[in-house]
Symmetry: C2
């Protein structure tokens, strides 16, 4: 197992010397920096931690959405008994961008919430448990009427900046944007305008662009914004999940069964 | 129906004159200021809105617990990229005081969260869906190991000040206290000490004693405290729920069926 995300260049020489290695387990959900080495050493079996951390990230997304809608973000900044505010996600409506493991967990966690969930995903396959699944060409229509919009999609050339003014204009004035994906999927200039003009209720961001977000950035100045420093999945949360994933894969390896999270060297994920 | 919570003293004379009244519907979940009058006029049938607002209040309790555990309360007060913090309620452990409608809804909403829920209630009857039900004599044992402790019990002579230093001492140092019941159930001096000494993680209070909490009160000064101004159930959330409750009780009254939310004058709720 290779745990330092930022040092892919050191792994090649180690593997060249460790001739008995058959399996390399990468404990990361996204492995872009390792793709060249994986392609070069496709004689080895590579696994990643795709989907392993979905559960903590899904909980954080729900916590951010309710903290926004329930105005807990605003009240936390008060030093006096303030005006009544608040909206429910229970019996409400949610739109999630992305149809992967995080979205599946969000749907699972909200199973008792009677919340209408629309999923926007590339695939035409309906997301199990969602009220409605649409493809990205219907994204603007999909956010209309939602109380919260959660971003849980991969950052690709297609999705970069795709959460833009058309999306914000279509959102309800009370609706909160929650980002647990990557900062780059949001058009930040459009977000600034939406927040300042009040065309959305607020933004709860676990990811920003860049990270760390520099002091003095305009996002720090707004009362209807909360930024959590990329902690939807902390090491304390992730390590037990990773341990279970590795343990299960070792068990499967011994039993000669297919492993979880196997990387396709050609596809690169 | 008598809708002004703060004027119980005006209701007695009105009832004395309105000799044809048989049923008094109080639209409040907690009715402590009315108990003396209810005992005096136990010839009438009294109903309260016990359980009617359970759903919004349960959601708020969960939102407060996750906002505390996930450190969203702290991050909302930051103007810089701060240190990583956060605990999960998912796969965690929760203790709820009170075995009424709010607790039932909390259990319902958390059905997909794999959260071990201990309920502390007066009755020996196991709370449906809870992992464990204990009576108040085991309260201290019941909070040990919990990630969050939610207060959803009635304020009575027995429960006043019952959440005291013995409870706080038994709680985990990361655990959050969430109060959606009444401020009076908490021994506030003991809470102050627990927060200052760090023997609990923080407190998220939708109810305080007194209300509104005056400016300059020590509770306003702590970073690991959030106060929401008694808005777990806002009028916007509650009025449709109350309307349905009254409609149902009128229907039952006409059909000579037992009403919902009938007050026991002796128990006082």
């Amino acid at each position: 197992m290779w745990a330092d995300f930022h040092r892919p260049q050191d792994l090649g020489p180690i593997l060249a010397n460790a001739t008995s290695v058959e399996l390399v387990a990468l404990p990361f959900a996204g492995i872009e920096p390792y793709v060249p080495l994986i392609r070069q050493r496709s004689d080895l079996l590579w696994t990643c931690a795709r989907g392993v951390y979905a559960r903590p990230v899904a909980e954080h997304a729900i916590a951010l959405a309710t903290a926004g809608l329930r105005h807990i973000v605003g009240y936390a900044q008060e030093r006096r008994w303030a005006e009544p505010h608040g909206r429910m996600l229970v019996d409400g409506s949610l739109t999630v961008f992305g149809g992967g493991g995080i979205t599946a967990e969000i749907i699972r966690l909200l199973q008792g919430w009677n919340c209408a969930i629309t999923v926007v995903r590339r695939s035409a396959t309906p997301m199990p448990g969602a009220s409605r699944t649409v493809q990205p060409d219907l994204a603007v229509e999909a956010v209309a009427g939602a109380d919260a919009v959660i971003l849980a999609l991969a950052l690709t050339d297609e999705t970069r900046g795709s959460i833009d003014s058309a999306i914000f204009d279509a959102m309800a004035p009370h609706a909160w944007l929650v980002n647990v994906a990557r900062g780059g999927v949001v058009d930040h200039e459009a977000l600034h305008q939406a927040l300042v003009e009040g065309s959305i209720g607020g933004a709860a961001l676990d990811v920003t662009d860049p990270e760390p977000l520099p002091e003095g950035h305009w996002l720090w100045g707004l009362q209807n914004v909360v930024i959590t420093p990329h902690i939807a999945n902390t090491p304390e949360m992730g390590i037990p999940l990773l341990a279970a994933h590795i343990e299960e894969n070792v068990r499967r390896w011994i039993a000669d069964q297919p492993l979880a999270g196997v990387v396709d060297p050609v596809a690169g994920y």
